[in-house]
């Protein structure tokens, strides 16, 4: 890894003995201690390490929950209630795990929007960004399957609706759905495999996080100016103790926020229907996914047969059904982010120096919030229209506005270096 020129030295014979055989100490020293980090990072750069810590919290609480959970349709719901009532500290561990999922998405969404604002996805960090998208997809799959495990009404019907999405695929759709279910409905085989995969995927995420960090350490962190490190001595400070302490401070704040929900509003992010055991014969009147899926759910539902975007992409309904178009759009809304490093033509990274992009960035952020809001409400009346225009804007922003703004915009003058940006105003540096 770059920046790996460690001048690590130790007087301990044990450390030196190990170091000679497996250079783990010099590795940690170069990557976590001396690791040169831009000196101007703001608090938005906390969210990467916060996400890593939440991942660890989720894995530890998840493994301990699995010790008392039974993945069987007859027993799952009761085993969760037993965790809540009888298992020592079971209520605490479950509330940590339940709310941890929401905290994880809050942290990761802020982390992603920070990357969008400061242009962290641009060369040479494209692969870093793409691995991040894959982490997001793995997180979504994990969260979806985890929500099925308590076997409440929302678990069951959420699983039914989402797995049925795959039936939209032409020819093999029904076969795929049956393969996912292991039967003719969401049932015991489904619950078993979801538990198996829910346990597996977090470790896949750990592997992806390792690759994410590896790619990060190749070219170091981006920073609020978006200007690359030019002089390691002037532009950077060692990661430890400067950023370990800054991350610790942010961690303290996040844990307070997290603890508030665990202890005072543990079911705030949940649905009361999930405290009713799954009943395959009764659909709850209003099925909604967890809040972190709502923008994508809104995109899925925007595609009705009279939606003008659908009429265009399906060549007047000839190419595909509205159901299939909605499914494709939902997956595309995430996958299109993989192309962002190439769609953005601007050579300036940070929105701080891109007034036009900054304006559209905030419009896009608001658009995502509107999508989330619409996704949580029944698709009726004017909400359908709002959802459809917001869906249009989501793709229009990424595919059209980002490239066009990158070409047309005249960015403000950049500071000469990171050091110059903190010691004097950018105009003076110019």
């Amino acid at each position: 890894m770059s920046g790996g020129t460690s001048n690590f030295q130790s007087n301990s014979r044990v450390v030196n003995w190990i170091e000679h055989r497996l250079p783990v100490f010099s590795f940690l020293d170069s990557q976590l201690h001396q690791y040169p980090t831009p000196k101007n990072l703001n608090y938005f750069w906390n969210f990467g390490s916060l996400a890593g810590i939440v991942l660890v919290i989720m894995i530890v609480s998840g493994i301990t929950l699995a010790m008392s959970y039974t993945p069987h349709t007859d027993l799952a719901f009761d085993s969760v209630e037993r965790i809540m009532r009888d298992v020592n500290s079971g209520w605490l561990i479950r509330y940590i795990h339940m709310n941890g999922a929401s905290i994880f998405f809050i942290v990761v969404y802020i982390h992603i929007f920070r990357g969008l604002y400061y242009g962290s996805y641009k060369a040479p960090r494209e692969i870093l960004w793409m691995i991040g998208i894959f982490i997001l997809l793995a997180m979504m799959a994990t969260a979806f399957m985890g929500y099925v495990l308590p076997w409440g009404q929302m678990s069951f019907w959420g699983a039914t609706v989402i797995t049925n999405l795959f039936s939209a695929i032409p020819l093999v759709g029904d076969w795929i759905v049956q393969l996912l279910w292991g039967g003719f409905v969401v049932g015991n085989p489904t619950l078993n495999r979801f538990f198996s995969l829910h346990y597996l995927l977090p470790f896949v995420i750990v592997g992806l996080v390792f690759l994410h960090l590896w790619a990060l350490h190749m070219h170091h962190s981006n920073n609020p100016t978006g200007v690359e490190i030019k002089d390691e001595k002037k532009d950077t400070i060692p990661f430890h103790p400067y950023y370990t302490i800054k991350d610790m401070y942010g961690l303290g704040l996040m844990l307070i926020f997290f603890a508030f929900f665990i202890f005072f509003a543990p079911n705030y992010f949940g649905h009361p229907d999930n405290y009713i055991m799954a009943d395959p014969l009764v659909t709850p009147p209003h099925i909604v996914p967890e809040w972190y899926f709502l923008p994508f759910y809104a995109i899925l539902r925007a595609f009705t047969s009279d939606y003008w975007v659908y009429q265009i992409v399906s060549l007047g309904g000839w190419l595909m059904s509205a159901k299939l178009a909605g499914v494709i759009a939902m997956f595309a809304s995430i996958l299109v982010l993989l192309l962002l490093p190439w769609l953005d033509r601007s050579r300036v990274r940070s929105a701080k120096y891109r007034p036009l992009y900054r304006f559209f960035f905030w419009v896009f952020a608001i658009d995502c919030v509107i999508l989330g809001w619409v996704g949580g409400l029944p698709p009726e009346g004017v909400l359908v229209t709002i959802g459809q225009w917001s869906t249009f804007w989501y793709f229009f922003h990424i595919i059209i506005i980002v490239p066009v703004v990158g070409i047309l915009e005249r960015p403000k003058p950049l500071p000469d270096s990171i050091a110059a940006s903190v010691t004097s105003a950018p105009q003076a540096a110019e």
Binding site: W157, T160, T163, G182, V185, I287
Partner: protein, 182 residues
């Protein structure tokens, strides 16, 4: 390769080697695919799941205008004893008005008995309309509360996002009062 080897021998040698490499890759790929298949196929419905494939139902107690829901393969099956008005309404519909055109005749064996899988063809919710107090949608049949699909008195889709009619399972009347589904 020795320096004395002629050019044509070299080409010959490489072609033979290429053949070996490609045939090794091909055999390896087929072998891997064959080895992977059982790990995918284990996810398909198991033998005991498939064995629960038929259900016998006593329909003698269902009055005209009443419906019951039975379970077949884990899915709800709607059995409705239709009223003469409902039958007339279902038969009178112009096929051109239907998103998934099908005559009522093709969906029933005896017009008074409508038997179909009660799973919305949109995303798998259970439509309402089985109980007398349920909303029955704009066409007097069933209404799916999830995304607003309306089905008529023959279980055909009339309005909303669902693409198809409620499917009719295979069944036969084993006597005047019993029906075997599946």
């Amino acid at each position: 390769m020795s320096e004395t080897a002629s050019g044509s021998a070299e080409i010959d040698e490489q072609t033979r080697r290429d053949f070996l490499i490609w045939s090794t890759v091909a055999v390896g790929a087929v072998g891997t695919a064959l080895a992977v298949w059982p790990f995918i196929d284990q996810m398909n419905p198991a033998a005991d799941t498939l064995a629960l494939a038929s259900t016998e139902v006593d329909i003698s107690q269902i009055e005209v205008g009443q419906s019951i829901t039975v379970i077949w393969r884990g899915k709800p099956v709607f059995i409705r004893h239709r009223t003469p008005e409902e039958i007339k309404e279902a038969e009178a519909v112009d096929l051109a008005d239907l998103p998934d055109p099908q005559t009522d005749d093709a969906r029933v064996q005896k017009p008074e008995w409508l038997i179909m899988v009660g799973v919305c063809t949109h995303l798998g919710c259970i439509p309402l309309g089985q109980k007398s107090g349920d909303p029955k949608g704009d066409f007097g049949g069933w209404f799916c509360p999830c995304h607003g699909s309306h089905y008529d008195t023959s279980g055909r889709i009339r309005k909303g996002p669902a693409p198809n009619n409620l499917p009719v399972p295979g069944y036969e009347f084993t006597s005047d009062s019993t029906v075997l589904i599946g």
